[in-house]
């Protein structure tokens, strides 16, 4: 009896140890960037490498902000993220509500569109969209990228929000209609407020996807509207990569993502499955 008990406890400790080791392996690349970003510039490319900075330094951050002007691309990223999320949420939540409540063939065509968006490689869409954005004269503008990111996120927003709308009993809007709302005002006044938590999670998701998006940003922006992922990737160079600045920018860039990720932890897998556009 005693032995059995002790054995199971040992087993449990071993399992937990294994899990922590695995988790540490998962954290290692993050720790590498964060720790490296606080090294003095010379230590970043020291050989043999140091695990920890010899002393805490913000040299890399200063270099990144002043010489390489990453701040501006961070601002572009922020504007594009907010703009595209606003458009995707406005159009997507209305369509998501329609998907949740109606079986009309027009509404059902969203199934096909969402499926297409889930399967078609972004790079396939990139070719004609580059031509379209050039034609519209929106190359290297925030608006051009906002329009495209909104489109990339729209199928996802429709899908995820329709799930939340389905969870709201239809009786609620029928009651609102009896009380004098029409179907549209029932949506804006009654359903939207109830769905707010779910829609907020959807918006966070859309924002993260736009913030992290690289392929279209790379194709559609180059100087004025360049986003942070593009700016960071430009620091990679065969001959002399700006490793210090890159780790600093990478750290700063990732902090907001991690905060948002913790807020929506429980929904992340669901969201990924529904077709987060990842390149």
């Amino acid at each position: 009896m005693m032995i059995g008990l002790r054995k199971s406890r040992l087993w449990e400790i071993a399992l937990l140890g294994g899990a922590l080791l695995f988790a540490l392996f998962y954290l290692a690349p993050f720790l590498t960037i964060v720790l490296t970003s606080f090294k003095p510039a010379a230590e970043v490319i020291a050989s043999p490498p140091r695990l920890l900075p010899s002393h805490f330094s913000i040299e890399n951050y200063l270099h990144m902000a002043s010489a390489l002007n990453i701040g501006r691309s961070m601002w572009n990223s922020l504007v594009v993220t907010f703009g595209s999320t606003a458009i995707a949420m406005a159009l997507g939540s209305m369509a998501g509500y329609a998907v949740a409540r109606s079986h009309s063939p027009v509404v059902r065509s969203f199934f096909l569109l969402a499926l297409l968006a889930r399967v078609v490689p972004p790079v396939t869409l990139a070719i004609p969209i580059l031509g379209m954005i050039r034609w519209a004269g929106l190359i290297d503008t925030q608006i051009g990228l906002i329009l495209v990111h909104a489109a990339l996120n729209l199928p996802f927003v429709i899908w995820m929000s329709s799930g939340f709308f389905q969870d709201i009993p239809a009786d609620l809007e029928e009651a609102a209609i009896v009380d004098g709302c029409n179907r549209f005002t029932a949506f804006t006044r009654i359903i939207l407020p109830v769905a707010t938590p779910g829609l907020a999670a959807t918006a966070i998701f859309a924002a993260m996807l736009s913030w992290n998006e690289y392929l279209f940003a790379l194709l559609l922006t180059n100087v004025e509207a360049k986003t942070a992922p593009v700016a960071v990737s430009e620091l990679l160079n065969v001959y002399s990569s700006e490793w210090g600045a890159m780790t600093a920018a990478g750290t700063l860039f990732t902090i907001p993502v991690l905060i948002l990720a913790i807020i929506i932890q429980r929904r992340i897998v669901e969201g990924m499955a529904m077709g987060a556009v990842k390149g």
């Binding site: 993050f30 369509a95 027009v106 889930r118 078609v120 489109a151 209609i177 549209f184």
Partner: protein, 329 residues
Amino acid sequence: MTYPILMHHLHNGSVQSGQPRRDSHVRSRMRSMLQDRNFVAIAMSCPALVYLALFLLFPLILVIYNSFYHYDLIDPGSRQFDGLDNYVRAIGSHRFWMAVGNSLLFTAVVVCVEFVLGFAVALFIDRLKRGREIVRTILLLPLMIAPIIAAVAWRYIYSSEFGILNWALYQIGLIDSPSALPWLSSPAFALPAAMIVDIWLTTPFIVLILLAGLQALPKSLSDAAKIDGTSLVREIFLIKLPLLRPVIAVALVMRLIDAARTFDAIWILTGGGPRFSSEVLSTQIYRTLARYADVGFSSAIAVLFTVGLMILALCVYLILRPSDAGGRA
């Protein structure tokens, strides 16, 4: 669903029983339209439909259309009908088949490793009594980080001068010198190095999906297995695996699609090189478009890629999907 129809009639009735004034006719009609479930639903979907038609359907038609033309991005006046020439060029090109091979290899290896690893880790976490939440949270991080930032981190780790990985391998004695394993600069290692990053980046997706599946299985099942004296291995392979099959089928097909579409990580890590050894279809299409401005040729490859991926995903799904004849318990 008689409810909406009933509501509709009720409202029409109430409108008609009101005072019949002529100028309110349009208004009441308008009001009854706003009560109609399908009318409102269609009206509310219109903006999104138009938007998706413009940015999803139209580009898809355009890419097919462009694939029949010779068309230089810089000089739109150069557009010239080419028939199937771009396709013939693609199919006859060694580089294209190399990219197809790399894409297939990358996708197959990555999805298989991720499934085996992900299933093992999910079983493992499922048995944890404590610390499950912490491990779960840590696993979420790679799913959220921008693939390009992850790739930058890994590129730094892979470096043969100041990378931590080779120095660690050197210290353990697995390699003779830190530069003995040129991860990203040798044709033999570039693709495997990219695979490792993708496995790191997306195994948590499989883990978390399968974990959710495992935790949804009735607990009585493993209790019964315990009473019957079924071994752990038999319990996993004969009971849990078949029951999870619907979840596995969906998760693997999604991973397959996403792995085949990967662009960011490979582009940052190797740029498809050295000497095209890690060139996959996404990077080839991007290069043909951005470097050579060859819209027609890149469109043709993109069409082949997209159609191929759709067929592959459908086939794999049909194979993995549990048959209706008693796959479900």
